[in-house]
């Protein structure tokens, strides 16, 4: 696994919409490097015969039947919205994303 440098952290912070100061970037680059190293140790311990784990419990096929359950009213749905208009969430215009 490649080491994590300060530029990687800045890139991730931008993707995750987290504002970080220069000091925080320096500190986080160091901390994440330790975490990546730790994961590397685990990867070394698990041989090629051990499949990657995405879930700690060996469960599969947890399904729900296709039956309609509860819904919110528009008022309930919008109750926590910073801004709303005519039953819809109102958000700033977004020009260069998506």
């Amino acid at each position: 696994m490649a080491a994590i440098n300060r530029d990687d952290v800045a890139h991730l912070a931008r993707l995750a919409h987290i504002e970080m100061s220069a000091e925080e970037l320096d500190r986080m680059a160091g901390e994440l490097a330790v975490i990546v190293d730790s994961v590397k140790s685990v990867s070394e311990a698990a041989g090629d015969d051990v499949p990657a784990t995405s879930h700690p419990i060996p469960l599969t096929n947890v399904f729900r039947e296709d039956v309609v359950g509860h819904t919110f009213t528009a008022e309930q749905a919008l109750s926590g919205a910073p801004d709303a208009y005519e039953g819809r969430f109102k958000v700033p215009a977004i020009l260069d994303e998506g």
Partner: protein, 501 residues
């Protein structure tokens, strides 16, 4: 700014197009992919949502079993392999159409992969399109951009969000690069999307209404000089949402790419927005590091295991494939190869089937759809099925003609009235005063006048030249401004003259 384009013919002379499609199919399950909120189109905004669809903290998604089964059916109908095990992943991005800041999708483990679809072109040529994968995901909310230029994102002041569509189950079908279509690329594009739409509709897993966004197509186009193996740089035209638009968008992008390449510039890899009004695309945004979605396995969902028994059970429920269905329908309806191909190419096979189911004969249904409606749809620049003629309307119109209430000429006038929103055929006949004159009194007056006006013709008829009657019938029709039933007029004339027809 308008982009330069070459003529399609010149573009084809110089370059070889390579296509690729991502078709999103909305499933018609009763509930959403991961929540029990209803999957219903057109309701009041933000009423078909619950805490899962709104991405509230701490909620847990649960997979809809029917959505999985529908996805497997789509995979099977596309001749795909069905993954023994697969899982969901988070696709991380910030955009107000997804309140969770990630879309739950499938990444490296699609439920179906390695399939193909044989596409029949208008002249009967069969072209095989390879399917890379079909994976499950959830739809996003609907944004409406307000202010600025009408409804476009550019210059908008703010956007309004309705999350009713958020979490609606989607299957995204991705093709492998399609090579070798040449100048038939636009036609193939349309035929491919039509075939996918037909398949999911036939399976009953989607309402498949393109005008409602049930089937949406992103079209990838790139060009390369003839003889070169390496692909050119592609553009991806988003949300091309009618069959005609798919054909036009691919054609336009080929012409635009050709002009860019001719100018010596590289094509920019970017998304393009399709504009139906100008039949052109405009630049969306270039691919950038914002496309780093940092996929990772969705920790709130466990893997899906599709046992072979389950897959076979589902395979056994698959309906007759559309190609087989076409063969059967042609035989049932007694259409010639040419007639049937015309019907298919005009895109009215389903409409004719529905019209026959509503009570019309195969001949009557074809006469109306091919003879009247297809032409009107072309003039109105919409798909025939979207023109607004219900099968029941055709049955009603035809019955009026058969009952002698109106004649064929009036029937087409009534059809125009229906399309203009004037009401039902019966109401329009009434309002426009179109009923055939069936009271014999006024007819007989007109007949007597016509007979008196053409004594020479009368002599001929009496003398046995029955075919001369056309002149008298014509006179009567003229006098009644076309409102008489010509068959009845003929009968009455013969009766009047005491001649056997």
């Amino acid at each position: 700014m308008t982009d330069a384009t070459l003529s399609f013919e010149e573009a084809m002379e110089k370059y070889d197009p390579v296509l690729g499609f991502e078709v999103h199919v909305e499933l018609n399950t009763k509930t959403k992919m991961f929540s029990s909120a209803p999957n219903v189109f057109g309701d009041e905004p933000n009423t078909n949502v619950n805490e899962v669809d709104l991405g509230m903290p701490g909620v847990l998604p649960v997979v809809n079993r029917t959505a999985i089964e529908s996805s497997i059916k789509i995979g099977l109908a596309l001749n795909c392999k069905i993954a023994e095990t697969c899982r969901f992943a988070r696709k991380n991005y910030f955009y107000p159409d997804t309140p969770k800041n990630f879309q739950t999708s499938q990444y490296d483990e699609p439920i179906a992969y390695d399939g193909y679809l044989d596409i029949e072109l208008s002249d009967g040529t069969v072209f095989r399109v390879e399917i890379e994968r079909a994976h499950m995901e959830e739809d996003a909310g609907k944004l409406t951009h307000m202010g600025g230029a009408a409804g476009r994102i550019q210059g908008a002041d703010y956007s309004l969000v309705d999350y009713n569509r958020s979490g609606v189950p989607l299957v995204e079908i991705v093709t492998k690069p399609i090579e070798g279509a040449g100048s038939r690329a636009p036609e193939l594009a349309k035929a491919y999307v039509a075939a996918v739409r037909e398949i999911v509709k036939n399976l009953g897993v989607s309402d498949a209404k393109m005008e409602r966004g049930n089937v949406r197509c992103d079209a990838n186009v790139s060009l390369r000089p003839h003889g070169r193996e390496r692909f050119g740089i592609r553009s991806e035209t988003k949300n091309v949402n009618s069959l005609r638009a798919v054909e036009h968008a691919v054609r336009y992008e080929i012409q635009r790419h050709a002009a860019v390449l001719d100018s010596g510039e590289p094509v920019i890899q970017e998304t393009r927005h399709w504009h139906e009004d100008t039949r052109s695309t405009t630049s969306g945004r270039p691919k950038s590091d914002a496309d780093d979605y940092r996929y990772f396995p969705e920790p709130d969902l466990v893997p899906i295991v599709a046992s072979r028994e389950w897959v076979e059970e589902l395979r056994a429920t698959l309906p007759e494939p559309p190609a087989a269905r076409r063969k059967r329908l042609q035989a049932d309806w007694g259409y010639s190869d040419l007639e049937f191909r015309d019907v298919v190419n005009a895109g009215v096979m389903d409409e004719i089937e529905e019209t026959i189911a509503a009570g019309a004969t195969a001949t009557v249904a074809r006469k109306w759809w091919m003879g009247e409606i297809v032409g009107r749809a072309k003039n109105a620049d919409v798909d025939p099925g979207q023109l607004g003629v219900a099968p029941a309307t055709i049955v009603e119109l035809n019955k009026m003609v058969e009952d002698g209430k109106i004649n064929n000429k009036m029937a087409t006038e009534v059809l125009d009235g229906v399309l203009a929103g004037e009401g039902t055929p019966a109401e329009i006949v009434e309002k426009r005063g179109l009923a055939v004159v069936s009271d014999d009194g006024p007819l007989l007056e007109a007949i007597d006048a016509a007979l008196a006006a053409q004594p020479g013709v009368v002599d001929k008829i009496r003398g046995g030249k029955i075919q001369a009657i056309g002149a008298i019938v014509g006179g009567v029709m003229k006098a009644t401004r076309g409102q008489a039933d010509a068959g009845r007029v003929r009968e009455l004339i013969l009766e009047r003259l005491g001649v056997e027809g």
